[in-house]
């Protein structure tokens, strides 16, 4: 895994990828990034001329699902090609080297590309006991700080690195945090999802390689072009929501008819991702199309937002027991207030009349004086 300075165009030709396929990929990428079609040739030109940018992939507290989603496509695609054309200088799961040799490869890549390499992170970073997750005796947080120092940008692949993900879920036993909780002085692009969509990742890399700039990001550092709209707005089941046709269970008539899954807890209305458009497995399907509601996996703290199967319209904390306690407390206060009120009424009835505070007795005019006037 050393950096070879062979332009992409030459490598594609060597691999038998036609110019037509490559241009198609560039046009698709331009479309995904919402760039004008005229920029497709510029993307191609930039990629062809580009030397392999060095990428250091750090895996922390993760399940390797993000890497699997990205790499395990069952047929080689142009997307996998673009991945093949970066210089992946360090990745635990994929690299042939191991032990000290692997760590040395990382150090060499960092020195050779200082200030220019891209860091990809999957997994959250434990801040509790440093022994929770280490690589070659080094804690994750130390590795991240060390590697991020010379990075041009950091791409957080998956919800764990972007927001802490499942490791951060209550009670967060490892004290997990996201990359942006640790690194604050580098450009960070979050590509959340559990796992994220492969095309999103490749497009972000292509834009960075082709234009040397990060895509436009939203308030959560996600590329707006992919995370600008919620899943609900682009879901093919949306018309059923508008008509109030909801599946009541996963195997009823409504579910078979493809009705809206809102009532079964779908989080599509509050989840921002391109799942409904790009889908997985080369555009085959996505969770809602497979019959299950969206879990909201690309949103922060998605694991701790109540049941996956509770509709968004329901309250997460309120229950009848609490209301009953409130009613009992109200009864106690009401009885107290009632008895106090009765006592005041009794006292007023028994005692002599007393003017209310602030009420001045009005002087009655003398009838004799009135007659005179």
């Amino acid at each position: 895994m050393t950096t070879r300075h062979v332009p992409l165009g030459e490598r594609m030709q060597a691999r038998g990828i036609s110019r037509r396929s490559f241009m198609k990929f560039c046009a698709t990428t331009a479309s995904l990034l919402a760039l004008p079609p005229a920029l497709a040739p510029k993307i191609a030109q930039a990629l062809e001329a580009q030397h392999r940018p060095s990428v250091i992939w750090l895996s922390f507290q993760e399940c390797t699902g993000c890497a699997e989603s990205f790499l395990r496509s069952n047929t080689p695609s142009v997307e996998s090609l673009i991945f093949d054309t970066i210089s992946l200088d360090y990745q635990h799961t994929l690299m042939a080297a191991s032990g000290h040799a692997a760590e040395e490869a990382r150090e060499e890549a960092m020195k050779a590309n200082w200030g220019k390499y891209i860091v990809v992170v999957d997994g959250s970073i434990p801040t509790g006991d440093m022994g929770y997750s280490t690589t070659a005796g080094e804690s994750n947080i130390d590795t991240l700080k060390h590697v991020a120092e010379g990075a041009a940008a950091i791409v957080c692949l998956g919800t764990c690195s972007a927001y802490g993900g499942i490791p951060l879920a209550d009670p967060n036993p490892t004290g997990a945090v996201s990359v942006q909780d640790v690194i604050t002085d580098k450009p960070i692009i979050n590509v959340p999802g559990c796992p994220p969509i492969p095309a999103v990742m490749t497009s972000v890399l292509v834009q960075f390689i082709a234009f040397g700039a990060l895509p436009e990001l939203d308030h959560l550092n996600r590329p707006k072009v992919f995370y600008g709209q919620n899943i609900h707005d682009r879901c093919y089941r949306r018309p059923f929501y508008e008509r109030g046709q909801f599946a009541e269970s996963f195997d009823d008539e409504g579910a078979r008819e493809g009705w809206c899954l809102y009532k079964l807890g779908c989080k599509g209305p509050t989840t921002y991702n391109a799942c409904a458009v790009l889908k997985w497995n080369e555009g085959t399907s996505f969770p809602i199309e497979a019959g299950h509601g969206c879990l909201g996996c690309s949103e922060p703290n998605f694991w701790d937002k109540g049941s996956f199967y509770a509709p968004l319209a329901t309250a997460t904390h309120l229950d009848t027991t609490e209301l009953a306690v409130g009613a009992l407390a109200g009864a106690a206060v009401g009885l107290g207030a009632g008895y106090a009120g009765r006592a005041v009424q009794k006292r007023n009835k028994q005692g002599p009349f007393e003017a209310q505070p602030g009420v001045q007795p009005t002087a009655q005019p003398d009838p004799a004086e009135k007659e005179k006037s």
């Binding site: 919620n230 209305p269 703290n301 309250a315 309120l318 609490e322 409130g326 407390a329 009864a331 009794k346």
Partner: protein, 217 residues
Amino acid sequence: MSLLDFARGPALQWAGIIFVLGMVWRTLGIFMLMRSSPLSANRDNHLFEHGVRTVWSRFVPAPVFEKKVSFQYVAGWIWHLGFLVVLLFYKVHVMFFEGLLGFGWPALPNSIVLAIAGVTLGVLLWLLGRRIFNPVLRYISTFNDYSSVIITTLPILTGLLTFTHFGIAYETLLAIHMLSIALLLVWFPFSKLFHVITLLPSRYVLGVKFWRRGVQA
């Protein structure tokens, strides 16, 4: 914690508790107060029946005032019924109650509820405008009148915006809608909105008092 998490969680939780606590507190407190005992003989022997009759007769305007108050009555009926229908028969609201109570009931089609909500909102805004611009109404209106109308209108307005995904992000609209409901729940027991409890009993008491003195109210 996002705004929606707060609205769905602690905001509705505490608002619900305050609502129930306040309603029970004020209801018991009022009903425990002593009633003045009559100092003269009753002129009517069927006070209970006549009290109940007064409760129902006040649902329509008295013939003598018909021309002057009919609009108020009709508008009031429309928005009260509209509010109830939207609250109880919109599918998503039924889901809310189902989540809370453990059981639900059939809902109306969204298109019908949407139309009813639109009319309800229009009537409420019209009544609010009338209260502001009519000199007599403005003169007799207090903070409690304005605030109660506005706080009742907000859930309908924000609900419509949420349903139509109008303007800002859905989750923000949904959170604002839930917060407006939380505000309504907190305000309800301690404002004029409490008339939901006192309206019918007070009509009954008034009817009994009138009939006892021979006034056919």
